[in-house]
């Protein structure tokens, strides 16, 4: 049996689509524990901000961020095991350089605009993370876009409607949202 050129092209396109779908699923599997980890960190960090005075916020967040960074690197490193993981990174278009670019943007804009109100200081990371997840999601991982959109919207909602309890809002809604988002990705 022989097949036409068009049939062969269609078959090759199907193969590419199936491989791309596997790649997206694999990306979700890598992203899920990272989101859950950061969700837990946010719960502790933002709840702590509600309890502690502003002077202690840095002392609270530096170790939490370090735990998050080390944990994230561990998860990424574990996923680097085989060639499939390298292919995942290549196809997903995500690399550690993207994370570094986001971090630089976060630090740069923070330094440049220096939020003077505590509420802006609390809400800004949620807004930027939500935006970043949306961008990556739109590019390659649709579910991440929904998580990012929800995160950004809920952060804004808290900023305008729940300023007095914003840190607790971010702990429950932001941290809890990340945990739920991670669990959602794990279901795939």
């Amino acid at each position: 049996m022989n097949i036409s050129r068009t049939e062969a092209e269609t078959a090759l396109s199907d193969i590419e689509q199936a491989a791309a779908a596997v790649c997206v699923q694999r990306s979700y599997r890598v992203a899920a524990p990272i989101l859950i980890l950061w969700g837990v960190i946010w719960v502790f960090g933002y709840a702590g901000m509600g309890i502690l005075t502003g002077a202690h916020w840095s002392l609270l967040w530096i170790p939490l961020d370090l735990i998050g960074i080390v944990g994230t690197l561990f998860v990424v490193r574990r996923s680097r095991g085989g060639a499939s993981a390298r292919r995942t990174r290549a196809q997903s278009g995500f690399s550690p350089w993207h994370a570094l670019a986001i971090l630089l943007m976060l630090v740069g804009t923070f330094v440049m605009f220096g939020p003077s109100q505590p509420a802006a200081y609390i809400a800004y990371p949620g807004l930027l993370c939500g935006f970043s997840y949306m961008m990556f999601g739109i590019m390659r991982m649709p579910r991440l876009a929904w998580i990012g959109a929800a995160m950004g919207a809920l952060t804004l909602l808290g900023f305008f409607l729940a300023k007095d309890i914003l840190s607790y809002w971010m702990a429950v809604v932001g941290g809890g949202g990340l945990i739920l988002g991670g669990l959602w990705l794990r279901k795939l």
Binding site: M1, N2, I3, S4, R5, E7, A8, E9, A11, L12, D14, I15, A18, A19, A21, V22, C23, Q25, G81, G82, A83, S84, R87, L188
Partner: protein
């Protein structure tokens, strides 16, 4: 020149083989995950997996995670070779190397 593999060429089986081949480390893939990737129904997926297993292209393992049964599928070395041959055949057709 490579040859058409009629077992693999069936559209759903082609998707199954592609998805399993994308797991280059040869890791087994969960049935549910394959279902999401191929967008097939349980019955359809199961029946085509059986065809591929009979051809020696796929190995199906069944076990339990806690109390929940789990079915996983992975490409056999023969399946991997057959898939690559089939992809080469398709590429040759597209690139116009078919001299027939």
């Amino acid at each position: 020149m490579a040859e058409l593999d009629e077992i693999i060429h069936q559209p759903l089986r082609l998707k199954i083989m592609s998805a399993l081949h994308a797991e280059t480390a040869g890791e087994p893939v969960d049935f549910a995950q394959l279902k999401t990737t191929t967008q097939a129904t349980d019955g359809n997926l199961g029946s085509h997996l059986t065809t591929l297993e009979k051809a020696g292209y796929v190995k199906i393992t069944k076990d339990f995670v806690g109390k929940r049964p789990r079915t996983r599928a992975a490409l056999t070395p023969a399946g991997r070779r057959a898939f690559r041959r089939h992809v080469n055949y398709l590429r040759e057709i597209v690139e116009g190397l078919d001299t027939n």
